[in-house]
Subunit: 419 residues, 4 copies
């Protein structure tokens, strides 16, 4: 396979291609096929985008029809019939059943842009500057969202101070269980040096941060403090939302009431870009028209495929399947961890985002390489890449899931042999 | 037409829909058709994205074929055959003929993200913080790019100080012709309070800023100073590039040698998102793999349509047509201005970005509304929206262009009647 | 007494004069005498400056002689015989006996300036930006030192974001006992969002912050973490040093080894301005000549009186007296607290800085007013001014001390009667 | 002379002592005497502090009497008879004759602190962040004032970004004559990227910056723009004020009306520290009591000597003498410059601050060294130290002035011989 074009002409910043050194030619549901015919089972899903598989046939059909009928592919924030259908369907499937009256805001179609918009709105609504974000959080790469991202591997390239963010440990980090109470105490003490923030920004499940799962109790503690001090409570559900954990939002059934929810990745369904925030009306009212613009806000193909995607959430069998498959993944990982008691491995996750924390970045990298060699795509995450995250398409077949888990186990064994 | 769905459920930030109060159902080349059957001539092109028209048939065909063949729609920065074709074609059509060896960097698919990446790379390459940006410049909405954007209408919502940018007047603003020399003098004086910046970031034609056209001499002055003080010279060609001015880059034939060129908007051809920077190899070498990531970096549909778009630039007749149509637009605008000598209107632009500076935002807004009522989509820009920018698709037919210009002239007359 | 001059012509920012509404005409040791002849016992010592009393006769004599002999009163950082005597004496009395080889740095004669210089040197030495400072800390009013000051009552007037400081709870604040360990854990985790700071800045006894006393163990924990992460350990001993706690430094006998010690207030002995940092040679070597200048760095009168002040520290009886008087103060406060068990008052302090934390700012303010009416000067501190701090001159006679304590007790009782 | 004490124990930051390598033992009016008996004529006046000479006998007498009578040497901002006398005298001598109703604000006794307080008040009064400061301006060393200081030699050690200041060229710098008008135009244009500042901070004569003299017209242009945009007009008269230019303020007879005037240096008369701002009542009303505190705000000795100093300004013969001596200095410098037409030297200054801009820092340094060897103390200033500033005490005798100027001329000649 010829990769010289990339080596000669693409930026040296390119990354994943170094982990997956092949040239992909096609893809279908949980399978990617390289130019040389090799088939790979995809436990990575484009970093959590392809919840409904590659080239989901229902979406493909709708998109082709859209193209053939000259639908409005690019519309900024003008009204289109396609966008109206998406909004209507989103309301029917997601908001109305939950009694939510949040408004949908579209922006530049990246998760980073969704976070930037949310932080602007929080600062605008409160007249305050500081955002509370958590250790191991990942929120994007542009300066506003990068300031909220915790990982030094990303922060170090900013080139300017990353400011206006107060950092607290996530629930599962050292001090995480007491941090909210201590921070609350400091906000009640005018000599603490802390003043009330504009918002708390939190992922219920930290995906890039190492698949760290927050408890219902802790998230309520965060939300309660936000309410107490007049700050917004913002949930970043960009990677963990859209069905990944077995329900639409990762925090369904937790009885939370976020002021803003940021969504992107799986929202468009097919892998075409889209980002959207859900803003409570009283918060949303602080926006003036055009206050946060963006060229690619109105993406017809994403609305079309995203509308199809919403259909999955009216299918209880689909969601039950996600939970079942998640359970299969979980049990396999727990067995793997149990088989290596000396390694002190930890299994974490919810639904179909399950992970093995190996505590050893070099080992995890070797597992990833061995998996690739065997035809399985996986990605490390967490500090130093020590956590192996498994996020197959929610639509993966049981056979592919089983085969992928077998390959994973083989890769673990192979990596142990060489490290 | 039913817009209640939008009014009930979409964020109050929505903007363009207030100027174009209808629901679009389909679009083809320079025409958009509303749900009620009204046809509009599009002189706005999705804010400069749709250089090759709505639903460009060549692109549509290629995209459908791509979908049907299960091409890799979403690939992060892994290698795909589709991406390879795009890179190869870009090299053949754009870089090689110009003797350029810049490397292609893909990122989150918004122009704002392209600018954020460019500023990071400039700061990383030089170890300096400050970026010189210009009055009336528009570079995006995320905190890093927004700091470089000049317009208070956008800056006022940041919620935090926008820092690390030194502001100079653009060539056409008061003091603009002497500012570079004076700033240069200040950099030579260690008591000036200024120190050398990381980069100069400039649009050869400021589109959002009011269609302000920089001269070759002034751009060379900027580039020369950048070289002298060890700063990067960055051209933001996001709106003016990709053929808009009659050649691929807006600065072709100016003998400039930018270190980084930011591209987005028209690059994907069809209106699907993509953003890309061109980095000189010596600059690009400062990147580490994964230093600036992004979920939607690898967009198969945008690569496919973008590859088709590149074909236009091997067709000299197409580019000649752009220049001819630009001349038609220019002459009409000049005649309109000449017909109203008391109004002191100014015509500015290059190629098929032509504008009438009316000096009066309320009047321009009225012209836009009258145009919409007559079936023409146009957008104001510049300070207070006083400049009416005409940017039809480059592929617009001569009849639609002529009809659109007639409608524009009628709208001007109607607006004069009521203001 | 005529205060109209002040009311007409002095800034409305004036503060202490509102607590002590009289016009002072003279002062001697622990007594201040108003224009109307009223004599006040001074338990405030000019906010901790007058450790050796008002108009200390030994100093006065030396200063008059200095003036009569045309000594160099103002010398910037040129060499003078007077300054040489001070440095030599400081070395003999303070540094040599402790085996310290710190270098003396003089700067603009305010504590705030001493802190600004220390933070500059820490940032310069480490190439890092962030300073760890603690809740309830007070370090000054200029933007660099104010960023390290915790109290919102002072921070709220900055007018700009106060940045580049990481805030941790002081040992005695909620979370204070675990904060260092948790922060240490976060520095070992590259995904925590924290990176190693330039320095830890801490007061062993927080005077303005409410007379909070750090333990030897906690201070060692701070110092150890500083060493581990390559940060400087800076002790701000501006108010608690120079004998106040019964030894020269407030941290003597704790076996600490700070990289920088900031001094001011009592250092000049007589109340004339001086500030001085003690820098370890390896740290100090990072300074270039003139890197932090200041007009009033070389104060002959302060050197003269400060040299006399150093003599007190060669007199073990003096220090024993300080400790004894401190014990008298302590016992009286504890008895007062014990007499009001329902009030939950807390006594805190070391040496001759003793305080009663009343937990009630309005009550403390009333006590201060009642004390003034009875001829005793005291000052509230801590959050909301709820802590009454007693810091008489170290040279106060036993009679004045006893009388002052009696007046204090009367004031407490009177305040209880009216609140 | 023994300097080992300094070399062993004083910080390596010490600077002036390297230019004047001796140990001074006493001083009187314009003479400093070293330990070895060498007498130096002082054309430096402690960096502009000693306007009334070293050990001014009238002040010395008053200070000794104050000490002997147990005056209140240190009073924070409580009322004292001594401070009342100073305020009353200041009102009589300075404010009342000029019809000024500014209020006196005392703070930590450094010029830097005066500037910090002024900037706080400007930001507080306007709710804006940015301060306009000028190239070559010097305003202090603490982070807030350092941000306004232009010289890279001082700024480079800050260790953190120096923010919230907009830099314009001073009248005499390249672009200086048009900068105010261009900046004004940018403030009227909402797309310029500039928004109205909190204040304009300007020195009518830039002393440290190289003795750059602003014209009345230019200062009015600055003041007018401040008024137009609702910003404060702040004059920093710390070095040029208190009689240096031949009248109390350096801007007397210019019909200016500053909102805040910062004073320090010569204000105390004797070289003991003091700093004071004059705030217009409507501006001053924005202060809350204690909003900007400082330990050494109330300096009895500085009030005493400063009150004596004010007496000089009721003596028209004194001011006439200053002007006459200034004229003698000016003529001598102009003759020196005229004698070396090939050198392109420039003479600048007002009153008894006169300077020779040699355009060559190495040469100026040599002149300073040659002068020292001949018994004359002078100090270079301006970019690279190329400007030799002569600021003898205003009280210097005609003989010493003439002898000093002779020595200066000899030093020039000697420096030419070796460079």
């Amino acid at each position: 396979m010829d990769t010289t074009i990339f080596e000669h002409h693409e930026s040296s910043i390119r990354g994943y291609c170094r982990n997956f050194p092949t040239v992909f030619a096609s893809a279908s549901n949980a399978r990617q096929t390289a130019e040389d015919g090799t088939s790979y089972i995809d436990f990575f899903s484009g970093a959590g985008v392809l919840n409904f598989g590659h080239n989901n046939p229902r979406m493909k059909e709708a998109m082709i029809e859209f193209l053939q009928s000259d639908g409005v592919a690019h519309s900024l924030d003008t009204y289109t019939t396609t966008k109206r259908d998406f909004i209507q369907r989103f309301h029917e499937v997601v908001l109305a059943p939950r009694g939510m009256d949040h408004r949908l805001q579209f922006m530049g179609p990246t998760g980073s842009n969704a976070v930037e918009a949310a932080l602007k709105l929080a600062r605008l609504s409160t007249g305050r500057r500081e955002i509370v974000a958590f250790s191991h959080g990942f929120h994007g790469m542009t300066l506003g969202s990068l300031a909220a991202t915790a990982n030094h591997a990303f922060r170090q390239w900013a080139g300017v101070p990353l400011t206006d963010v107060v950092r607290l440990p996530f629930e599962t980090a050292p001090g995480g269980r007491t941090a909210i109470a201590e921070y609350a105490a400091s906000l009640r003490d005018t000599s603490s040096g802390n003043t009330p923030p504009a918002a708390f920004l939190v992922e219920p499940v930290q995906a890039e941060g190492g698949v760290n799962v927050a408890s219902r109790e802790w998230l309520h503690e965060v939300q309660d403090l936000a309410r107490e001090v007049g700050a917004l409570f913002i949930i970043d559900d960009i990677q963990a939302g859209i069905g990944r954990t077995g329900s639409y939002f990762s925090f369904d059934d937790m009885d939370l009431d976020p002021d803003i929810i940021t969504l992107a990745k799986g929202l468009g369904g097919f892998g075409t870009p889209i980002a959207m925030n859900l803003n409570k009306p009283a918060v949303d009212d602080n926006w003036s028209p055009g206050a946060h613009t963006g060229t690619f806000r109105g993406q017809g193909l994403s609305f079309i495929a995203g509308t199809v995607a919403l259909g999955y959430f009216t299918d209880e069998a689909f969601l039950a399947g996600v939970r079942d498959k998640g359970q299969v993944m979980r049990e396999r990982l727990e067995r793997i961890a149990a088989d290596h008691p000396d390694r002190d491995w930890e299994v974490r996750g919810r639904g179909m985002m399950q992970a093995l924390d190996t505590g050893d970045g070099a080992f995890a990298k070797q597992v990833q390489a061995e998996a690739f060699d065997r035809g399985l795509l996986i990605g490390p995450c967490g500090t130093g890449g020590q956590v192996i995250k498994l996020i197959p398409p929610l639509t993966i077949g049981e056979d592919d899931l089983a085969e992928g888990l077998d390959l994973f186990e083989q890769a673990i064994r192979a990596a142990q042999a060489v490290t």
